[in-house]
């Protein structure tokens, strides 16, 4: 069975500093990985996904993520964080094969960016 872990409940960073949100996964075969962001009382907004190819994926709002197969990780990064990036971030894995696109979400990481 597939699973995804976000080892940090909260990440604190000062505005202008680099932001990293960690995600590790466990799945049989080559995974498809997604990042979403959620603002208070809102739905999830899609940021980026890894399907195949280049290990560095660029997404919305200046975010990027690096797929590392040997470490089974897909960490989300932003070179310079903004206060407006404060939100809840979710990593999700979609296993390959005939799984009807069933996503498994991590528990989420709260990002707090201070001015």
């Amino acid at each position: 069975a597939q699973s995804v872990a976000q080892p940090e409940d909260q990440v604190n960073v000062a505005e202008g500093n680099p932001l990293t949100v960690k995600c590790t996964y466990s799945v049989s075969g080559n995974p498809y990985l997604f990042w979403y962001v959620q603002y208070p009382n809102r739905g999830l907004q899609f940021l980026l996904k890894y399907i195949t190819g280049d290990n560095l994926v660029k997404g919305s709002y200046g975010f990027e993520a690096e797929f590392n197969k040997s470490q089974t990780s897909f960490h989300l990064k932003k070179p310079s964080a903004l206060v407006s990036d404060s939100a809840l971030y979710f990593c999700a894995v979609s296993p390959p094969g005939d799984s009807w696109g069933k996503f498994q979400f991590g528990a989420g990481t709260q990002v707090v960016v201070t001015p």
Partner: protein, 115 residues
């Protein structure tokens, strides 16, 4: 930009009452999902439709929850009777298809409070 619509945004009800949530997916999206998100956790799939057919309802508490997508477009999720433990955010998502690489786009959610 097309969005997933949900209503109501907030619902307060007493236990043992019936509640219903509505979702209108992005036009042309064949696959529709209902998720439940408990505060502080990632979304968990309740039911998945491909057009008007249910393809996965393994996590749907069928004694009290029901879902339909009669014409393969919009969908309704019902709870009868509601219980205190049903308090959560109910999210609807849609995707073009059910391939594991398809991005799921989420609506704003319905926040349910059961008193």
């Amino acid at each position: 930009e097309a969005e997933v619509a949900q209503s109501p945004r907030y619902k307060i009800t007493e236990k043992s009452q019936a509640v219903a949530f509505w979702c209108d997916p992005i036009s042309g999206h064949a696959t529709l999902y209902w998720y439940r998100q408990i505060l502080g956790q990632g979304p968990e799939l309740l039911v998945q439709f491909q057009d008007e057919s249910v393809v996965d309802d393994s996590q749907l508490p069928k004694d009290r929850f029901s879902a339909e997508r009669l014409k393969g477009v919009d969908s309704t999720l019902k709870i009868q009777p509601a219980e205190l433990g049903d308090s959560a955010m109910y999210l609807c998502a849609s995707s073009e298809g059910a391939r594991p690489t398809d991005t799921q786009y989420f609506g704003p959610g319905t926040r349910l409070t059961v008193l």
